[in-house]
């Protein structure tokens, strides 16, 4: 249990809760980087995935590219950005967005493409245009998978923001990276506990969001290989 006692002693020390780099500020930084990256990724991937799913063109390419995408090493992408353009917002934003795009894109595509053709026909039969059918029928039915994609993207982004402390980004990864370089194990343990708690909090937020956004009859256990 020494890990948890280390972490607990570090967490309850007042030094961690006051000053310019205290725990609340690190948490807000972490959420800020993650939120911004997820937003940018969603703005790119959601319209693209929904459109490809709606028209049904390019689907095979999307799924296969997303599969190969997983091989891209996060750490390598982060350090490469810094070596190429120096440390700036772009240096961490690009890798975080790049990693969050595939799960959002694939799930949005699969969600819309997987809508029962009978439903599309019914929408058409009721006199809906393609656009109306997308907005009123296909999108609501695809929502569980779309939310799953966003959740997976959020998980990737929170994890990668932790590693990005290596290139100088703030957030909770700082405690782990700084603690490792100073052989301060208490700080490493405390940071790890905070990162785990934050990751779980993000999960809980998505469970609540799903409950609020997805219509009740569609709230089946959606799962895919995001």
């Amino acid at each position: 249990m020494s890990f948890l006692s280390f972490a607990w002693n570090w967490l309850k020390s007042p030094a961690q809760w006051h000053g310019s780099a205290d725990i609340p500020i690190r948490i807000l930084q972490h959420l800020g980087y993650s939120g911004l990256s997820l937003l940018v990724a969603a703005l790119i991937a959601l319209p693209a995935g929904i459109w490809i799913g709606h028209t049904g063109r390019g689907g095979v390419v999307v799924v296969n590219v997303a599969n190969a995408w997983r091989a891209i090493p996060t750490l390598g992408l982060l350090v490469l950005m810094v070596v190429l353009i120096g440390f700036s917002a772009l240096a961490w934003l690009v890798p975080l967005v790049v990693l969050a795009i595939p799960p959002i894109l694939v799930n949005a595509y699969e969600g819309v493409a997987g809508v029962d053709p009978g439903l599309r026909d019914a929408a058409r039969g009721m006199g809906m245009t393609g656009w109306q059918s997308l907005r009123k029928v296909e999108l609501p039915v695809a929502l569980p998978l779309i939310m799953l994609g966003l959740r997976t993207g959020a998980i990737f982004v929170v994890a990668t923001a932790t590693i990005a402390a290596e290139i100088g980004l703030g957030g909770l990864g700082r405690y782990i990276i700084d603690g490792l370089s100073q052989s301060n194990y208490a700080e490493v343990a405390g940071g790890a506990v905070l990162v785990v708690l934050l990751a779980l909090l993000v999960q809980v937020i998505f469970v609540i969001l799903r409950f609020l956004i997805v219509p009740a009859p569609l709230r089946i256990q959606a799962r895919s290989d995001g």
Binding site: S2, F3, F6, N67, A68, R70, A71, I72, P73, T74, L75, G76, L77, V79, L80, V82, V83, L84, I155, V158, A159, T160, T162, I163, E166, I167, G173, I176, I177, L180, Y185, V188, A189, G191, A192, V195, V196, A199, L200, V202, Q203, Q221, R223, D225
Partner: protein, 202 residues
């Protein structure tokens, strides 16, 4: 470029990436079979895989330093857990996707539950299980490089070295090596699936 070092770390990275998927499969098969058979058993397992999967790898690595030190196990254990999160649901889905008439036919031919599982259900579940295995092995190979941050050697060495020395070529080569390694493993798995499911070849 230091070629002997590149080979050495490519080997280390392959080990750190492939072992978790192999160990993960060895655990996921019995666990998945149990979950497919007893529905109540799956109820707590499924959310557990989701929760575990959301924990950043770096956090799990540093938690384990205290128990396993700077050995390969410190990287292999968390990556095995991540692999399980992908593999267990896939094994369950694969077994459940076997059509009921097929199951009944096996029973009618006199297959007991165990023989039906080994000779009928698992072979038919192979495509879904291998789909999960592809995800597990590719992500493990890619994530293993993060272990370098806690000092467990892999191709990630060149990322940190290239970062400190401002040497992008080193990062390109190591990144390309990781992607190549992942694609080779992926192709091997696709080949295995073709061999294991001769009936699916048109």
């Amino acid at each position: 470029m230091n070629w002997p070092l590149l080979w050495q770390y490519t080997g280390a990275n392959a080990l750190l990436g492939v072992l978790p998927a192999v160990i993960g499969l060895a655990i996921a098969l019995p666990l998945g079979v149990a979950c497919a058979r007893w529905r109540w058993f799956y109820v707590p397992v499924l959310p557990l895989t989701t929760i575990l999967y959301s924990i950043p790898s770096l956090a799990l690595f540093v938690v384990l330093i205290d128990y396993t030190g700077l050995s390969n196990a410190t990287v292999i254990i968390p990556l095995t857990l991540f692999s399980l999160c992908v593999l267990v649901p896939n094994v369950v889905d694969g077994i459940r996707s076997v059509p009921q008439p097929v199951r009944q036919a096996a029973t009618a031919m006199g297959f007991g539950p165990l023989r039906r599982l080994v000779r009928v259900e698992l072979p038919l579940a192979v495509p879904v299980i291998i789909a999960g295995l592809r995800i597990a092995v590719v992500s493990s190979i890619s994530l293993a490089s993060v272990g370098q941050l806690i000092g467990v050697s892999s191709l990630g060495y060149f990322f940190l070295d290239g970062f400190q020395r401002d040497f992008p070529e080193e990062i390109y080569v190591a990144g390309a090596a990781i992607i190549a390694l992942a694609l080779v493993c992926d192709l091997l798995l696709v080949g295995t699936r073709r061999l294991a499911t001769p009936w699916s070849r048109g």
